[in-house]
Every structure is written in structure tokens, then in C-alpha cells.
Subunit: 403 residues, 2 copies
């Protein structure tokens, strides 16, 4: 019997308790040992809740109990989660977390402490909710040189974009609906401005490079400026618009960014709809592989935390390798990142194509009967800097979406 | 430095050597130790090949060399692979394989022998080529109760079906093209009759149930009877046709089968095109998750074998748990398996609907201008036995595809 403590009895924390109870049989069989929740740390009491007897308000009771081998940190935020996690790892207790803020901010340090104390700091739930993506990168694609990871990493924005596409609706309108349905927070900034996706691509980038990528250094753009007209153009091109976190490691350098992109039907990400997440990995032997599922939600996220607990139980006293090094990764200037661009501009294609090509080189005009008083074109592959320079030479550019 | 031997220098075996050489740096970093190919067993010599000095013709040289810790079995077929694998595991050498015939035939015995000798028998490459699917089932979805696995498990048939859909071409015609391009074998039976997919779903079923599923006990149907008209109907229903291996564990029992199915756009499997494979797993906490990538090919398959080697190196002297038990799973009679059916029949819908509904209960007729002299309908959810009984009462049924 392995004793587990849960820090924080919120959505994910209560989910962890529910998963361990509901799937007790499967979990014990896979872990090779029974798993028991001995403590739940929370500021609140939960009278009438099955776990009421297990609630403690003082973390030290857990940290000082030698019988506790694994801790699920489902508090979220940096403090006090950071302090509790450090203390736990230093005392040889493994920690499994869904806390992407903490992993993105202090991942390599906590992994190092776990290694020094022959225990583990696992964070499958911090990216892609219940989708196994940390494990494939860490333990499955180990014979691969990964050159690109790009993913739909935020369910709220994917839900909004999917609805905008289907209903031709405005961003604000769909956001209000999503908030009413509880799919978006009352303060949606972290989702719609791409901050959540940014922390997740920072974590994935660190695992791909084996070096530490600071989320603050990642260029991030949200979806608030996407309009029904953009989707009308996308449809003409047999594409859709997704908020994509991308991390590339190619001959031009190491690049990471979060931005909306036009995604064609040739990409499996094109099919990732509603609240689902999908992470596409490109590596030199396998080529494309994709991992798809629910990127959020109480039980999917809790399931990933408990999957980490099972891993810890299978490896008690043994550190599972992780290539995420504390050494800071040197990201290249995003200005050198090459891609194509979809651009909307005032006026008429026939009249302005020559002017546009004077600045951008050859472009392909996108016809879209649904939109009037403007035209749109797709550039060749060019760097962000080259795009900016060209765009500065052309008047009346209304918007740009990367491809 | 860990010494590895490769049994069989064919497509996958030579791929293993290539992957280990090309991604040496990444692999050593992840394995925590350098990996060296010491021997290659083959009946042939390979003069001029970089590995010519490593070629041996006698397996005992490898089995008796205590310095060899991990063996890659890429020979295929039951014998002599079975005998070599048993001897290797008994002497404490871990074995990584792409040999689905052997895994499907003797998996649980070989896993048991590995366990008894504190080594491992790993077979990620036996299903889905380079796609991590064995690992997610074994090591990631450990907190889940899995109730259904369904997948596109054979790249050759998916390539054929994708081409038939795009070009409205006949099966025979597309098969010939696929053979010319090397995507299909000269003797295509194992692929087009579903035997290959059958072995793969048998392996996945065993991992889902934790009991041994004999591939001989799985109902298997191929794609040779699929016609352009079927795709015309599918298009009308906004669906496509895929060869699906399915394994369910629900209130009606345990069911496994391989058959063509109509797959709608609501399923991520609908987007799996060409030679790609996709495996959709449904479990009680996460819901749907999908694993997508190249299900065959020299380097993707070899990469999965080498990924297993890395796992063995990380766990030298330690058996990684696997819930595949030798106990035979008791599969329910497929006759009790419930699903919907797409049925084509002679004559005219208006004239025959009443007769059809007399036998099948309420059905929805599928209009398809492209096909004349017949009509088609979709039944409600009913068991295979109930379908057969109803079909026997209706004259002129031309074909049926499950949904």
C-alpha cells in the first residue's frame, strides 16, 4: 500500500481523489500496489465529503509523515506550491503536478532536486490535460531528433475558433457564450491572449531542446483580432484558423512562438475541433506523429496526475530520467523565423497586385466573394523581419495571419 | 557503453542500425549511456556495408556473449525468432521486436520469461510502426479503465481506400498501382484481407483486457469487396470508409473484430489518410484520445525498436511491468456485438422501405444520385445476429458495411 497526499482540493485535486477511487482496481493492477489517499491539504473543511477525515490545514503534517511517498500538487500558482514541492522532493517524496505555471517557472530546478533525492517530479497534466504528450517526448520518441512541435494547446480558444468557423460568428459573441457555458473564465485573458498556450509550449520546447526555455522569451499573440472575414478567406483556401504554439529547432535556429495560423486539411491539426487539443511532433525518423484528446477538464487532467502517481509507485526510490536541463536555451530572434503569410489589404487585387509583388515578391491572390472593399494574398516563405520590411512598403494592410 | 545485437539485417534491422548511428547523440543522452551495435545476425554477408565486420551467422555467438545486454529481433515470422528470443530472455538479455506475428502468438509467455529473468520483452514496433501506442496503453493511461480501442492499423489498406475515395477508382486498379509503388506486397492477402490488422488488434486487445486474446478468435473481414459506389454513398453521408480493428469491453461483453467501417467526420479517424495509421482509445476518465503517425516503413518502425532499446538500457536488470497476462481472455460471441449497418439493396426505396422496416425496424434511406438500380439505408443499433436475422427476411441485399 502506497500512501498519497493531495495538495489542494479544488477541481483537479478532487478529480484526483475521484479517479483513484473509481479506477482503484485498474490502478493497483498497473502500479503493482494499492494506492491510498492519506491526506488532503486545503484551507477549507469539507463536512460531509468522504475525504473530510483526511483534510489537514498544515502542510508539515504531510511533509513530516514518512509513510507518504507521493504527493499530488494540484494547487496551481507559484506559491505556496513551489515551497511545498521543494520541501517534499528534498525529503524524497515524489511530486506529480498539473501546475503549468510552476513547471514553466521552476521545472528544471525541481527536476534536479528530485534527481538528487532519488524521487520524481512529474508533470504530464501540465500540458494537454489528459493527453499523453510529456511521456511520448520523454520516454517514447527517444530514438528521434525532434525538429518541430506544434500544437493546439488551449481548449477554450479552440472551442471559440471552432464555433466562429461553424457559425460565422464574431469573437466577442462566441466568447460570451463560452463564458456562459463555463468553457471560458470570467477573465479570459490567459486563454484568449495565448498566455496559457505560451507556458505549455515553453514546457514542450524545454523537453525538445533539453534546455530551459523561459516562457517570457516566447513571442505570443492571441485570437482576439480574428474575424468572420478571416474564416471566409480560410474556407476559400480549404483551411481553418487555429491558435498554434510552435517550437522549431532547424538550420535557422531555435524558435518558439504562439500565434493564430491558417491550417490546411493536409495537417491532422485541421481536424482538432472544439475543446480538444492536438500536438503534432515532427522528428527525423518517424516524421509526423500526433497526440489528440481532451486538453482540460477535471477528470482528464486528474487522470494524467494519477498516471504520474502510478509511474512514481513503479519507480519508488528511483529517478526517471528527464532531459530538461537547467541550462538556458538560446532562442533565435523570432525575426529570422521563416513561414508564409496570409495578408488582407484595402483596395482591389487587379489594381494593386504589381505594387504588392514589388514589396513581397510573388504572391497568390485569394478570391473571396464574401468579403468586399479589400483583397487578400498569400506570400512566399519569408522571415518575420522580411515580412515587416515588405509590409511597411505597402499601404492599407488590414491584417496578417501566419500559415 | 551498452552492447546491442540485431537479429536480421532486412528492412527493419538495417533501419535499426541506421537510427542508432544517425541519432547517436540524442539516443545516448536519453538512454544515459552510449549504445553500440556489436553483432548483426543474418544468413547473408554484406561486403562493403559498414556493418560487414559485425555480421555473424551463428546466433549462439550472440547468446553466449555476456557483454550483450539488449537484442533487437527484426527477423519476423515465428521461427527461428521464437527460439532465439526465448534463449535470449532466459539468459537475461532484453529483447525489442517489431515481429507482430511472434508477439501475437507467444507474447504472454515471452513477457513472463522476461519477468522471471529481470529483463524485458518490448514490442512498441509491433503495432502502429513508429507511433507510440503500446507505451501509452502500458505506461500512460494507467489511471484509466479503457472500454474501447479502434484503429486504422494497416497503412497499405488505408492508402488503397484513400485513393479509391479521391479518384473514385476500383479496388483492383488501385491495388495494382500500390503494388507498382511498393506500398503493397506482390501477395497482398495479409494486408487486404485484414490479417495484419487482426494480429495488431489482438495485441492491443490483450493490453486492454490484461488477458491473452488469440488472433485466431477475432472475426476478420478485408476491403476487397469495397466499391466506388460505396464511397459515393459514404460521401452523401459525409463519411469515409476505413478498415478498422476494434476491441471493446462493455456491458455486453468483450468483442474484437476487423472490418471496413463508415467513419464520419465527427471521428478523428476520419482524417487519417494515405499510409498513416491512427489509434483511437476511449477510456472512462479521459474519454477519446488518439495516436497518429506512420504505421509502417523502415525508419519509423526501426525508431520504435530503438525507443524500446533505450527503455531497456534505462531499466537494465529491472523488469518493466506489463499487464498482458497469459490467462486467455474469453471473447463474447461477435453475434452479440451491437452497431449500426449501412445496407445496399436492389430496387427502389419508395417501393421497398416498408418491407425493409418490417425486417430491420426503422431505417434511414440514403439518397445517392450517382448510383442507380438500387437503394441504400442505415439501420438502428442492433446486434450482428439481429442484423443477420433481419437481412435473411429481405431479398436482394447487395452489400453491408458496418458503421
Amino acid at each position: 500500500m502506497v500512501q498519497v497526499a493531495v495538495l489542494g482540493y479544488g477541481t483537479v485535486g478532487s478529480g484526483v481523489v475521484e479517479v483513484i477511487e473509481k479506477n482503484q482496481q485498474e490502478i493497483s493492477k498497473r502500479a503493482g500496489s494499492e494506492i491510498n489517499v492519506k491526506y488532503v491539504l486545503d484551507l477549507r473543511d469539507f463536512p460531509g465529503d468522504p475525504i473530510q477525515e483526511k483534510v489537514v490545514h498544515d502542510a508539515d503534517i504531510i511533509l513530516n509523515d514518512a509513510s507518504v511517498d507521493v504527493i499530488c500538487e494540484t494547487m496551481g500558482g507559484i506559491e505556496p506550491a513551489y515551497t511545498f514541492t521543494k520541501k517534499a522532493l528534498m525529503s524524497g517524496k515524489s511530486v506529480c503536478t498539473s501546475n503549468k505555471e510552476l513547471v514553466a517557472a521552476h521545472g528544471p530546478e525541481l527536476i534536479r532536486i528530485a534527481k538528487e533525492n532519488n524521487c520524481n517530479y512529474l508533470f504530464e497534466a501540465s500540458v494537454g490535460g489528459g493527453i499523453p504528450i510529456i511521456r511520448p517526448l520523454n520516454n517514447a520518441l527517444t530514438a528521434e531528433r525532434i525538429d518541430c512541435v506544434m500544437g493546439i494547446l488551449n481548449g477554450t480558444t479552440n472551442y471559440i475558433l471552432t464555433k466562429m468557423e461553424r457559425e460565422g460568428a464574431d469573437f466577442d459573441e462566441v466568447l460570451k457564450e463560452a463564458q456562459a457555458l463555463g468553457y471560458a473564465e470570467r477573465n479570459p485573458e490567459a486563454d484568449v491572449e495565448g498566455y496559457d498556450a505560451c507556458r505549455k509550449i515553453a514546457i514542450l520546447s524545454s523537453l525538445v531542446y533539453g534546455e530551459n526555455v523561459k516562457y517570457e522569451s516566447i513571442y505570443t499573440e492571441g485570437i482576439t483580432k480574428i474575424t468572420p472575414a478571416d474564416f471566409a478567406y480560410a474556407k476559400q483556401m480549404n483551411k481553418t484558423i487555429k491558435l498554434i504554439g510552435i517550437s522549431c529547432n532547424n538550420e535557422d535556429g531555435k524558435f518558439a512562438m504562439v500565434a493564430p495560423r491558417m491550417i490546411g486539411t493536409e495537417s491532422p491539426l485541421n481536424c482538432v475541433q472544439d475543446v480538444f487539443n492536438g500536438i503534432l511532433v515532427h522528428s527525423n525518423m518517424l516524421g509526423d506523429s500526433m497526440y489528440y484528446g481532451r486538453g482540460a477538464g477535471k477528470l482528464p487532467t486528474a487522470s494524467a496526475v494519477v498516471g504520474d502517481v502510478v509511474d512514481c509507485v513503479r519507480n519508488l526510490g528511483k529517478h526517471i530520467g528527464c532531459i530538461w536541463d537547467a541550462k538556458d536555451a538560446v532562442l533565435s530572434d523570432i525575426g529570422a523565423f521563416k513561414q508564409q503569410y496570409f495578408v488582407r489589404a484595402e483596395g482591389d487585387a487587379a489594381a494593386r497586385k504589381a505594387e504588392v509583388e514589388g514589396a513581397f515578391g510573388e504572391v497568390s491572390v485569394v478570391e473571396c466573394p464574401a468579403v468586399s472593399g479589400e483583397f487578400a494574398f498569400v506570400t512566399g516563405k519569408m522571415s518575420e523581419d522580411a515580412y515587416k520590411a515588405a509590409a511597411a512598403k505597402v499601404s492599407g494592410i488590414r491584417s496578417m495571419i501566419r500559415m
